[in-house]
């Protein structure tokens, strides 16, 4: 049973197709990179997968259950794209934000997760007082604290410093490899996804490419999309660091 199954999904806004006829499945333990130009419908697709938006056509299943009747939200850790819209006056401490939605507060898990993201010293600070990078780390901690089976990140590394960005990729890669966590990563960082992701979904309102990196690297069409040099970089990174699928 796939963790995510998307079948012939079409979402329209004001009568215009934002994404159309999208179909793919994500198996347990897969690290999937979703790439595409601005406005290609990546975030819209994620919101449809999570049930935040309702598609005009098609079907989404999470862990074998139609998203409309899915209730096991504790299995999912999600980091939305638009944290920049965060109200700077929001009176929530890092501790409160990271534990948001937990039915049972676990002090040890909180401490461990905050330290893993190097923000243990910020636990009692208000989230709005932190830098964007620190806020993003707090949000990553929130997504990770429940040890979810499925992680969905929508452009998570924007505004992160290179060190934290590297830590994020290596952490999520390790979770996927060692713990079987399924990771969906929406990113523009195509040089890095070749290093960590098993599969690639290239989206431009519809699916342009969906498959393994092996298929991607042997596909002549991809050179036309990314340019020969970018394709070379991605495939080189994948051969060097990834390639376990």
């Amino acid at each position: 049973m796939p963790v995510i199954r998307v079948d012939d999904l079409t979402f329209r806004y004001n009568g215009i197709d934002v994404v159309s006829n999208i179909s793919f499945a994500v198996e347990k333990g897969t690290y999937l990179g979703i790439v595409g130009p601005n406005g290609s419908g990546k975030s819209t697709l994620i919101k449809n997968i999570l049930g935040i938006l309702r598609p005009e056509q098609g079907r989404v299943e999470l862990f074998g259950t139609p998203v409309g009747s899915f209730r096991q939200w504790g299995k999912i850790g999600y980091l939305p794209q638009r944290l920049s819209a965060l109200n700077t006056h929001f009176p929530g401490t890092v501790e409160e934000i990271v534990q948001m939605g937990l039915t049972q507060k676990d002090a040890a898990a909180l401490k461990r997760t905050l330290e893993m993201m190097a923000i243990g010293h910020l636990a009692s600070r208000l989230i709005g007082e932190l830098s964007y990078g620190e806020q993003q780390r707090a949000m990553l901690a929130r997504a990770l604290i429940r040890r979810p089976e499925l992680l969905i990140f929508d452009e998570p590394t924007t505004a992160l410093d290179p060190e934290t960005r590297e830590m994020f990729y290596s952490l999520t890669g390790e979770m996927s490899r060692q713990k079987g966590t399924t990771v969906i990563l929406v990113t523009h960082d195509i040089g890095v996804i070749g290093q960590y992701a098993h599969n690639l979904l290239y989206l431009d309102k519809k699916v342009i490419f969906s498959g393994t990196f092996k298929d991607f690297c042997s596909s002549g069409d991809m050179a036309g999309i990314f340019g020969p040099s970018s394709q070379h970089i991605i495939c080189h990174q994948h051969d060097r660091f990834g390639g376990d699928i």
Partner: protein
Amino acid sequence: MDLIEVMRYGFVQRAMIAGILIAAVSALLGMFLVLRRFSLIGDGLAHTTFGSVAVVLLIGVSPLYVTVAALPLVIISSLAIYKLTSSSKINADAAIGIVSSLGIAVGIILASLSGGFNVDLFSYLFGNILTVNNTELILAFIVFVVVTAVVVYFYDDLFALTFDQDLAYSMGVKTRRINIILFLLTAVAAVLAMKVAGIMLVSALLILPALTALQLSMSFRKTMAAAVGFAVGAVLCGIVMAFMLNLPAGAMIVLLNIFFLFVVFVAKKLSVPRR
């Protein structure tokens, strides 16, 4: 006339109790509204209340029950604002503007057509907490209990929803249900706040205590408690000052709320070391 003597009057006691209950309810709901950028919903619903009171007076409801009778139309207006904003095609401020102007326009037309209840209708513009009757006091108590219970029971959901609606949904929060509850309670609070501050100043009761508390940069729970504290303080001091100085209580309460905001704002500025 000293304070003890003032407090012996039954209508002052009713005003104090109702004022505390309504102020606390408005402050609690105001926290969520201000943080979700729905600050002006109080204005919108107050204007709708004007239209609703006009309808209620036109059909001949006794002045004793005007507050209760005006509720259904204000609740419908509140849900209309929610429906318009959740369509994603109309921003919250525009949706509030639409419903607000409809309420005022209906009120003015009905007042003009009736020719008889203008004085009653326009008395609601400025409110008078000292005229709170027993029905309104009971309603204020029921609403206080319901709002407090909702905030306590749904605290985690409200916190997540206020932080980020999409994120809350992905955590399993029933965002639609919580939003509807919040908008329903805000409609009831707006109608009650009309009695305290008048239609013109309803939004002040919803916005100001929360804004003042937010200046203190504390955790969510402490900020909510501080907002309730500021709101109740303003009502108690406002009623006493209004009675002793022979000034309108609603306006005095709002001025005190603004005074608290000013004091906290200045104190915060002064406490930040200059570079």
